[in-house]
Symmetry: D3
Subunit: 316 residues, 6 copies
Amino acid sequence: MLDVITIGDALVAMTPTSSGRLRFVHSFEKKVGGAELNVAIGCARLGLKAGWISRLGNDEFGHYILQCVRGEGIDTTHVQLVDGYPTSLYFKEIFDDGRAGSYYYRSNSPTSTMRPEQIDEAYVEQAKIVHISGVFPAVAKTNREVLLRLVQLAKQKGKLVTFDPNIRLKLWSAEEARETLLALMPYIDVVLAGEEEADLLVGTTEPAEIFARFAQLGIRHVVIKRGERGAVGNRDGEVLDHPAIPASVVVDSVGAGDGFAVGYLYSLLQGWDLQKSLHLANLIGSIVVGVRGDNEGLPYLDEIEVYLGQKQRIER
Amino acid sequence: MLDVITIGDALVAMTPTSSGRLRFVHSFEKKVGGAELNVAIGCARLGLKAGWISRLGNDEFGHYILQCVRGEGIDTTHVQLVDGYPTSLYFKEIFDDGRAGSYYYRSNSPTSTMRPEQIDEAYVEQAKIVHISGVFPAVAKTNREVLLRLVQLAKQKGKLVTFDPNIRLKLWSAEEARETLLALMPYIDVVLAGEEEADLLVGTTEPAEIFARFAQLGIRHVVIKRGERGAVGNRDGEVLDHPAIPASVVVDSVGAGDGFAVGYLYSLLQGWDLQKSLHLANLIGSIVVGVRGDNEGLPYLDEIEVYLGQKQRIER
Amino acid sequence: MLDVITIGDALVAMTPTSSGRLRFVHSFEKKVGGAELNVAIGCARLGLKAGWISRLGNDEFGHYILQCVRGEGIDTTHVQLVDGYPTSLYFKEIFDDGRAGSYYYRSNSPTSTMRPEQIDEAYVEQAKIVHISGVFPAVAKTNREVLLRLVQLAKQKGKLVTFDPNIRLKLWSAEEARETLLALMPYIDVVLAGEEEADLLVGTTEPAEIFARFAQLGIRHVVIKRGERGAVGNRDGEVLDHPAIPASVVVDSVGAGDGFAVGYLYSLLQGWDLQKSLHLANLIGSIVVGVRGDNEGLPYLDEIEVYLGQKQRIER
Amino acid sequence: MLDVITIGDALVAMTPTSSGRLRFVHSFEKKVGGAELNVAIGCARLGLKAGWISRLGNDEFGHYILQCVRGEGIDTTHVQLVDGYPTSLYFKEIFDDGRAGSYYYRSNSPTSTMRPEQIDEAYVEQAKIVHISGVFPAVAKTNREVLLRLVQLAKQKGKLVTFDPNIRLKLWSAEEARETLLALMPYIDVVLAGEEEADLLVGTTEPAEIFARFAQLGIRHVVIKRGERGAVGNRDGEVLDHPAIPASVVVDSVGAGDGFAVGYLYSLLQGWDLQKSLHLANLIGSIVVGVRGDNEGLPYLDEIEVYLGQKQRIER
Amino acid sequence: MLDVITIGDALVAMTPTSSGRLRFVHSFEKKVGGAELNVAIGCARLGLKAGWISRLGNDEFGHYILQCVRGEGIDTTHVQLVDGYPTSLYFKEIFDDGRAGSYYYRSNSPTSTMRPEQIDEAYVEQAKIVHISGVFPAVAKTNREVLLRLVQLAKQKGKLVTFDPNIRLKLWSAEEARETLLALMPYIDVVLAGEEEADLLVGTTEPAEIFARFAQLGIRHVVIKRGERGAVGNRDGEVLDHPAIPASVVVDSVGAGDGFAVGYLYSLLQGWDLQKSLHLANLIGSIVVGVRGDNEGLPYLDEIEVYLGQKQRIER
Amino acid sequence: MLDVITIGDALVAMTPTSSGRLRFVHSFEKKVGGAELNVAIGCARLGLKAGWISRLGNDEFGHYILQCVRGEGIDTTHVQLVDGYPTSLYFKEIFDDGRAGSYYYRSNSPTSTMRPEQIDEAYVEQAKIVHISGVFPAVAKTNREVLLRLVQLAKQKGKLVTFDPNIRLKLWSAEEARETLLALMPYIDVVLAGEEEADLLVGTTEPAEIFARFAQLGIRHVVIKRGERGAVGNRDGEVLDHPAIPASVVVDSVGAGDGFAVGYLYSLLQGWDLQKSLHLANLIGSIVVGVRGDNEGLPYLDEIEVYLGQKQRIER
């Protein structure tokens, strides 16, 4: 039995050892990234049983990512290493004023070898939640059918399907994104979207309006992330506006949205109310940005318990 | 007026800071590589005027490579930076027992945006030698027509066309390589081939036989590189077998063949005889392997003059 | 079902980034070591199902080691993190002439919190082979009873018990080692010992004599490792002397014995004969010393298949 | 003749090269730390003659620390290197939001080999001030008798005995700390305590009350450090509240208290009044936190003279 | 045809990899610096044709700087490498509170081998602007005649001569600086001076007064840089006070003045009015301080076009 | 009382972190070097009391060197830090084939501020041996008078004066070296010279002839170092030819001659015979080349005792 299953393309994140334009950067360190993988890592750190469906290149970087994912205690029985497709890769660029850049080498993602019929029904059966994001279908066109199949199966088996649009306009156009993602809506139970993403999908940034439009699409559980203004949620009609939790320091904003999803999924599985759920989601988002790395800042359960006042601070 | 023009796809060479399987390597340093570019660099270091025709991504790595190439004093008036194609990239893997690995990210090479009709006749007109290798047509199918156009123009204008097969079976199959490269033969004046490459192209490793077969293809100036057994050359019927020059130490074998080509091209331009030409080609090949990096070991003129006994050793 | 279970104390291996006396070394890199863990890692890389029984500090280094072990695909259900005992640690010192040093911080090993009665019978039941070494009982006195309990259970359940003396005189005296290890002999099926270790245990370095003395102790399956002179094995009376397989390069001799054990255990599980078993054991030992790190050089199955001629070399 | 003698356990401070949880940190740099040693270093940098009584492991790290201490110009005639006790060690953990962690490997401190009767009377005789802190007796139980002997000798010889409680609850319990430290009070002349430390020792955080209680213990010269609220001192009845001197930047708070002590001891030796003494103590504390490292930020005399307006800023 | 020619002594800038007093810094990275060279680099990055007149040591560092300068696309036909004079060098020291230090090794600058009569008239003829600064004449006494010759030639040929006093009191005294620089005034068209520099040269910090005094020296185009209070310019009587453009972050203030000059020279060549010129000069100055390195922060044309609102922000 | 006093100019040794031409090296590490200082360090490591007379810049590097020298336990009472003279510096260049380069920045050595009359008679009085080399007089012309004064004083006081020519033709010409060094001969007791150095000084490489010519100069104690052919000594007519002791590995030949001197001086002070003296001198020379760094390889007494068979090897 797994708490959360997710599907995605992981990348080696080549991280500069100094700030500034990459043309002047001399050395890089190898780390791991990938939106949906980050969510699986965050869930595992909170003690949830998480599974990750993916393909990696059968090369040194594929083995490296596989080791990291297994090391986090994530189920990797549905991760395969395939020949002929180099493991995806990106270079991060970091400026001292907070700006950042990304240079992708993922045009032949190993996930593009997946086929819809290969999604294992029995695996989906095991999950409580199936979490997806808009990165996976953006990485390769063929991934779209795969994703559709996954959410159809999940829906059919009565699993809770959660969705973070995670729209990256470097990977596809706004039109492609909208069309592809709207096609998934009939199978989605919960949407966790940024304000601009909601606008791209349903054409408005006004919360009440956004809720109304997703309701028309049959989705009555929607959370809108509004950055420094916090998050607004609508869970079956109960609407709550939760203020942001300011980070004590911001050093790397990558992964904040993934952290938000982790907190929300965890809360769902605990059966917590909307207020407590938004609080944890906001909290994890604000913790993540205080730590360098795409997922290094995702907290562990004891840390969260300290933040939530359930446990005394651990002396480090 | 330029002495040598070459055409090729350059790469950022991500070099591990420690040896062993890349999955266990933590950090990497950014350097520059690319077979034909290495030849241009080597020529420039010997004081020749070298030009390089290429395309790079209009990204940080493209600018980085462009700076390096200009820094070497190579003419870059025919290098363009193009949007939408990430600059090519590869990761080196180095083992302490001398084995090595390469992991390429060059499937969307910026050079694949080149078209035959864009080859500038006036630029070719300026050159004494046009040097090509088998890497450029292997990187992208469209590069094959571009290369054909270049050598046709060169031939037509009476330029000396030199060719190093440089066959990389990770980039294309033996069949593709043979077919593509043989189609270039009518425009080639000088072949500098490894023994196995000659075998792949003309079906034999026996020098006399190789010379005979290339002669049938109309090429009467052929040099066969035989590793530790040195090189055998046939220049219009004069055949000479030159022993290898043992390297004082071997730390990185990448770029040895490019160094050989540099020495041979330099000799051609000096009007040296076959004996002296093979000597310099062998010498540079053996110098290159004693230095880490794809082109860092390519020698400067004063260094060569010391080796050739024309100058006293410079105290460092 | 597991192929191999082992028990041991793992360490963070602080590895110098430059050679020479540690007083002059400025920076260190964090890696993982530990004799019995190395064997588990090596087994897992060959595709065996391996389990590791241990305790780690409930601190950052304990979590780090746990992640690495899980990342290798080893079963960690019997690894616990305990408060109040810092995860064991050692500093390596490397000289350019091949000498090495070790500085241990493991006097309060977390494994010293283990008690004999905590060994899980059901876990032992699952194993085909229980592999032990002389490091675990040397690390803490209380570990001796724990180890005795483990091999008694294993013997009782008809498991194959393999033993590598691995005597480290920095951790205990020769007398303590002899007394403790001889007490284990009644429960041991296979001994894989260095020549000097055999001498310390049974008082001779002469193979026939060693075999005779172990036979008196009831052990009829003994392999003696003799460094550059290879290994001599006696399996139920069949005696075979196998020459060493020279390493192509020697850069770090730590872990060679662990690699030998891996090869021998793998062979046992394949049902291979003594000749083939000694060959693989020697082979892995010689591969390991060519790679820096306590376990980074332990090979993967495909690599071994290439060495054994069962598979073509993989182009890296 | 020496100005200040101190006694303590020094550590190698393994400092991470990047921030965040140590499990994700790859490399560490070797530095030196230790509360009482920091005070000796700070005194030496101000031109005082300082001596340090200690034991280090007779290993690479012991020699390294000895070199550093001698390099600072501290008298090390009473530092011995002992076999069988590894030099103490700790790992620092640094978070970008200012939090920090410490992981100690000092349970077998070489100082635990010291015996009270080994304190050299003649050495104590040479000192003007004997400075002690609560770290040394916390590191090993046997150190308590040693420390007692030292302060008794100092008192007997009419030396000024200064004391910084420096209570680290990771090393001993509050009860142990209180009992041990109160037993030293009869021999103490000057107390430099943090507010919480005073509370632990005499049961109140209210300055007047703290002064009263220490007076009952016979100590009439007490300074209470109150962080951002500055320091309050009572020197034989003269009470003065000195505001904090804000640091221009805070990058590493370790060593601030040691810097405070350095400034106060220096002032005592100059015969400065309470106001000037608190000013310098506060000033050095605020300088120290602006520099990474446990003692790298301790200022030199010329720097202090610039801050005190006695000298013009030196152009760097 | 060149837009800007400048003359100067370049240095290898050995940059510490960690902050704090250099005595505690372990490693350094090699970069390039030099006031006038920085201006040439900045101009080239904005698409101007820039030329640089200099001498470098005929050593590894000289070749390194030459490669960097060529790599930036600067004309180096008037740069020579000379034997016997080591390429100039300096060590940077960086404190976390923003203070910085410089340690120079440039007492035998290769530029000191230049002679006035070696200034190539034809080269000066090619330029639109000749830009000079006070660093070059400070580095070596003989450079003063060389510089005088350059500006005389420039004046004579009707070129625009721009001047940044760039007075470094570590290299010469105030008296030497004043005397030498005032002797150049008859040949200067535009002065870009800091407030304190103006004071040193003409004895006042009051803008109107400064303008008056320079006018007496025949210079009617003067800009005064006033740090956080922005810049005041007087172009042939038109006086304009432009506020500073606050940097989003300040990480390295070296090169800010050079960036200001770059912006002003660019504006002059575009024929922009004083308002727009001061704006760009201020803007580039504020961009430069947000990036580590003496010239790494100098912006490229597309970046400036974004800042000026002429182009949409490029997604990195 | 001191065993050995020496005088010299120390340097910061900027050491590349990778091999090859410095123009391609990115980072450097700060170490300490200087021929005569190396001898003092080597003596101190063997337990001798060593003193060093020198001047360093009153800058960060001067303080750094002073700390290192004090850290080695060398008497630094006659080392001063002077303003206005940057501490000497050199860059090392290392090639994988064993070649090396040096780039000096020591033209304004702080030692050039020394004056003959400043040599402290009382300090010389304290020494048993005064050791000098040819580097100090080569660094600055004024150092020659200083050195002459030192050896005159030493001779006058009956001290043993030992001399290593250490001729560096990058610092002065052969003529200057010969003239300067021969002027010192009347005050020299023991010469330790390389074969080529002897040739430069007395015009022959033939041992018997060298001995004869030095005898004419009044020196009857001469050792000639002949590299791989060992060393020949003549002590008052006793002639002995001692074979070289091959190094187990050669990684850095800098400092070998200094190590030889250390061994010989130590032997002199022990009163050992020529055979034992040459043995130790050869031994230390061969140990030094196996360790990177100018003096890191100089052995400690216990190490030497192991090599000489006086002590059992210490387990590291």
